[in-house]
């Protein structure tokens, strides 16, 4: 059973002069097994919305139903077992003597113990890259990134059916981010866990989400497949958002190659599309031996050089030069940033 939100309105500081409407008349349905990205500028109501999913906030108007359970009803415990929420900066919720105990906190509250508890704790710890030796340390001895991983493991261990993550990657190094997202994708793919990812990082959302919801001023402004949402660059910018750089790159290229697919979301897709388009021209560019880890970035760089090579002689130099300069400049940026994004 899905998450159903009907006409949800929520106000902060109700009945005081500071009253502020955080959500107004939000209607939303999230099916089982979906991977949804929620984006929006700070204060657009994303976090407020997801806090309704496990009954931390109660709607002022409207209703929220998860798996047939009302988020206002008495089944809160049941609801929170089903819906795991990883908050922003979850490392500040650590409190136990050892990392092991902290990860186990949630499931020991559910009455698990013994071998089953041990198995689940170790599995969750493994998923976020926390080694056996680290489990016996105090959580306060860990580094910031390790703390974050331990805290995320504390949610994974509950094995929720719906996983809500509010900015899980911020402040993590690229490798740590990659690791956590890899595990979340696996949960999603292999176990049908619904994932709701709240993030400012458009690259992450573009890469993992199957559906993107854009919040603006407490309302849902857009809702659809990433391809169709991210294509509306100007509208998104108007809401204080910035789609992944690669979309700007494609848009810049579009004036040169009008037939190019502009529903591209990742560096990898862009490289593939460009290779397809520029296969003949590529043959003219001397190929260096590509490094295994940077294949797509290299391909992208090659392709953009090739596209410049194709366009530059053919087009009127005065009008087209800035466009192609911009294109290759952003190609460089993407090549740098996307090296690991195979």
């Amino acid at each position: 059973m899905p998450i159903v939100v009907k006409n949800l309105t929520y106000k902060y500081m109700r009945r005081t002069p500071f009253e502020q409407e955080a959500l107004s008349d939000v209607c939303l349905e999230i099916a089982d097994g979906e991977f949804v990205g929620i984006i929006g500028r700070t204060g657009s109501g994303k976090s407020t919305l997801v806090q309704h999913f496990n009954g931390l906030l109660k709607p002022d108007e409207g209703s929220v139903t998860i798996d047939g359970l009302s988020a206002t009803g008495s089944g809160l415990k049941e609801l929170r077992r089903k819906v795991g929420v990883v908050f922003q900066f979850p490392e500040y919720q650590l409190f136990e003597e050892t990392v092991y105990k902290d990860i186990a906190y949630g499931i020991s509250k559910l009455g698990l113990d013994g071998a089953e508890l041990d198995r689940r704790v170790r599995k969750a710890a493994g998923a976020v890259g926390i080694s056996g030796a680290m489990l016996q340390k105090s959580p306060f001895e860990l580094s910031g990134g390790q703390k974050r991983r331990a805290a995320i493991a504390g949610i994974f261990v509950m094995e929720p059916k719906f996983l809500v993550m509010d900015e899980p990657g911020s402040g993590l190094d690229p490798a740590g981010r990659e690791e956590i997202f890899a595990y979340v994708s696996k949960l999603h793919r292999d176990f049908g866990v619904s994932v709701i990812l709240v993030s400012h990082n458009m690259e992450d959302v573009a890469r993992y989400a199957e559906r993107v919801i854009v919040m603006s001023d407490g309302r849902i402004a857009m809702d659809g497949a990433p391809r169709s949402v991210f294509r509306r660059i100007d509208e998104l910018e108007g809401m204080g958002l910035r789609p992944p750089d690669v979309l700007y790159f494609i848009r810049a290229l579009k004036s040169l190659l009008p037939g190019i697919d502009d529903g591209i979301l990742t560096v990898g897709q862009a490289a593939a599309e460009l290779e397809k388009w520029l296969a003949p021209a590529l043959a003219r560019v001397p190929a260096r031996a590509p490094m295994a880890s940077a294949v797509t970035a290299q391909a992208l760089a090659r392709a953009s050089v090739a596209s410049a090579a194709v366009v530059a002689p053919a087009s009127a130099p005065a009008s087209e030069a800035p466009a192609s300069a911009q294109a290759s400049a952003s190609a460089q940026a993407s090549a740098k940033g996307g090296a690991g994004a195979g």
Binding site: T16, K77, R81, V83, G84, Y92, I107, K109, I155, M158
Partner: protein
């Protein structure tokens, strides 16, 4: 969660009362409280209530909000009132075994409730609702300055008070966040025996303390980075200045106090 606590909450505005110098407000409301303690007849209470009502009206703070500040201490009023009603000496209203409420007791209870409410309303309307905590501590610091001669670290105490006040909402927000996070992990704060319940707060208290210490550290660094080194040679962004408004406030209160004294004298005269 803590949205409904109105005691100790600044109500933004630019009314007459808001613009009065915090020192004036502190002096007037403390004196007002002293006068309230001295009141003993219905007429005197009526006079003081009228003054409080004028102050509230002039402050632009909704009366309902001011009244709400009395709410947390209603149990105290009821409890103390009940004790007075049953244990004060005097003419009994009726007698049931040892239970004998007296007329004098009722009068005492009423008076005490009026006293507590007036002190709270007067204090909150005149000071807390209309003065930002920062201005309030500024005022306290200025008023206590003479004590510095006696080696009382007035500035440091005021600074501590400012910081404490400043961090109450921050820590409340933090506590709220931690409570939510732990609740999401299945924490339950209202179930089980007393000991279990006490234990269930550990997951909140520990992270809260950790973050409070972290914040204290960061704040200390930030202060040192801006060359904070105590009171010496420190200038202020807001200079406190008395204006005509303050003269008016003192005059209004003086008038009220004079009337009060007349009533008191009159009662002594007629009563004698």
């Amino acid at each position: 969660m803590n949205q409904n606590i109105s005691l100790g909450q600044y109500f933004p505005g630019n009314s007459l009362v808001h613009r009065i110098d915090p020192r004036t407000k502190i002096i007037v409301s403390l004196s007002y409280m002293a006068v309230v303690l001295a009141a003993g007849s219905p007429l005197e209470f009526a006079l003081l209530a009228a003054f409080a009502a004028c102050a509230v009206a002039a402050s632009g703070v909704p009366a309902s909000m001011v009244l709400r500040s009395v709410k947390p201490i209603i149990p105290l009023i009821v409890f103390a009132g009940a004790i007075n009603v049953f244990f004060a000496k005097g003419r009994p209203i009726f007698r049931l075994w040892v239970i004998a409420p007296t007329y004098e007791g009722c009068a005492l209870a009423l008076m005490m409730s009026a006293r507590i409410s007036l002190i709270l309303i007067g204090g909150s309307a005149m000071m807390i609702f209309t003065t930002t905590p920062i201005l309030l501590t500024d005022g306290v610091e200025r008023l206590l300055k003479p004590l510095k001669r006696l080696r009382v670290p007035v500035h440091e105490l005021a600074m501590m008070m400012t910081i404490a006040l400043r961090f109450i909402p921050t820590l409340m927000e933090e506590a709220d966040k931690i409570i939510k996070a732990q609740a999401s992990r299945g924490a339950d704060f209202n179930e089980g025996k007393l000991l279990d319940r006490a234990r269930s707060f550990i997951p909140i208290i520990i992270p809260l303390f950790v973050s409070a210490f972290r914040r204290a550290d960061e704040l200390a660094n930030a202060m040192e980075a801006r060359c904070y080194r105590g009171d010496e040679g420190r200038t202020r962004m807001r200079e406190l200045r008395m204006t005509r408004l303050d003269a008016m406030a003192f005059a209004a209160f003086g008038l009220c106090a004079a009337l009060f004294a007349l009533l008191k004298l009159g009662r002594a005269w007629w009563g004698a």
